[in-house]
Subunit: 134 residues, 4 copies
């Protein structure tokens, strides 16, 4: 499990006064970005210095509690369903009281940049995901 | 069915060169916003001059084709599962060739602003959704 | 002068109920993107099929009137200060009453992708800008 | 001076591979939000439990160096031009080498929520700004 601490910023909210729903996906993706950096697979490396990309093919979220500007969030990221060419990430968002306020799930597929076909996950990434597998 | 024409803007993309996944939700929500305006239930009215709000409790998306800055999109919105206090919207995103490049699904629950409890959907909204029900 | 019609979306606002200030720059940039497309210089072409890029080196905005979700906007874009390697764009945002609600100014410099040095503006772009020069 | 540590996220970049210019304003605003929280004037308090708001009437930025996804940023915020009803904030963005990569300036006016007229800055805010005044 990888943990990311953040907070809801004013620009994450909308005129209804709460977190705009799509930004829950963005905050979860920030956790994913820092997780990848922590295992030596930064997005900068994947985008500019690798032969593969990790395409998100499915994403979903549940919204359990309203979130306001300034709310602190702990996002716990857990890999699931680690396959040959794909993996799933589960994100649990908790407030300062430790209450789960929302969840996100993203499904990622490894794609060859040249052929645009699925390809096996890089071994380092597989190991890092396995090490944190639920 | 309600149709919204838009295009992928540069700020919808990221350094991987494609639409950032969370923005597919935002583009779908733009269609929802214009749909609501078209039936006389603008967000401004709901937020500032009504006793209810429509909370998104679940959202999911499939990403079928890469989308690039400048790509034109037709988003078709269809109501589904119209209940007493909730409804679901399905969005189908198509490119200029008419090919489905992605889908979004959002589940909305009507909440009383005072009590924060579920309440029946306003009759006008129910009728408008029913008129476009799949 | 190039004109772009749009509206303030819910995700452009924040919990204070108004347009989040940074999004005025984004809306102006959308006008710039469509202007470039209209003169055959789409961002997709510049990013993927050209030897130059147009870097924004300065941007500023004045905020004259509050803008709310659903507000319709007419953005008028006018080139100014067309130099050898740079140009300035002025954007005037008007509401449905024709009242100016805000302005944006962006300064763009043409950069060689290889050397990262300034280079003269492409002739087609220069002509297009000159044709609409104030 | 107030210091905020952050990093450029993938969603802050666009298909040109760099930070999308408008997001430099957003990152600076995040620093402002955390500064306000640090002095007991959180946006949540101002929006929901005060008789005033702080409207941004002008914003400008210089973009000195390209910023990429994953780049760490130190944002130093300094108040300037503290007036009776307004103040200016200067933000200096530095990379991990301590090099200034960009600046932002925002001008804020204190507005009475009822009358929508300018009003004097709250005393606590004035003191906090003065304590950090350049």
């Amino acid at each position: 499990m990888f943990t990311y601490e953040t907070s809801v910023k004013l620009h994450d909210t909308d005129a209804a006064g709460l977190l705009f729903f799509a930004h829950q996906f963005t905050l979860a993706h920030d956790a994913y970005e820092l997780f990848m950096e922590s295992i030596g697979e930064s997005f900068d490396k994947i985008i500019n210095r690798s032969d593969y990309l990790l395409a998100i093919v499915h994403a979903e979220a549940d919204f359990k509690k309203p979130l306001f500007s300034g709310d602190h969030l702990t996002i716990n990221l857990t890999p699931q369903h680690l396959g040959n060419t794909s993996f799933t990430l589960i994100y649990d968002l908790r407030n300062t009281d430790g209450v789960s306020v929302g969840t996100v799930r993203t499904v990622h597929v490894c794609i060859d940049k040249q052929t645009r076909k699925k390809k096996p996950l890089p071994e380092e990434l597989r190991k890092a995901l396995l090490g944190r597998h639920q």
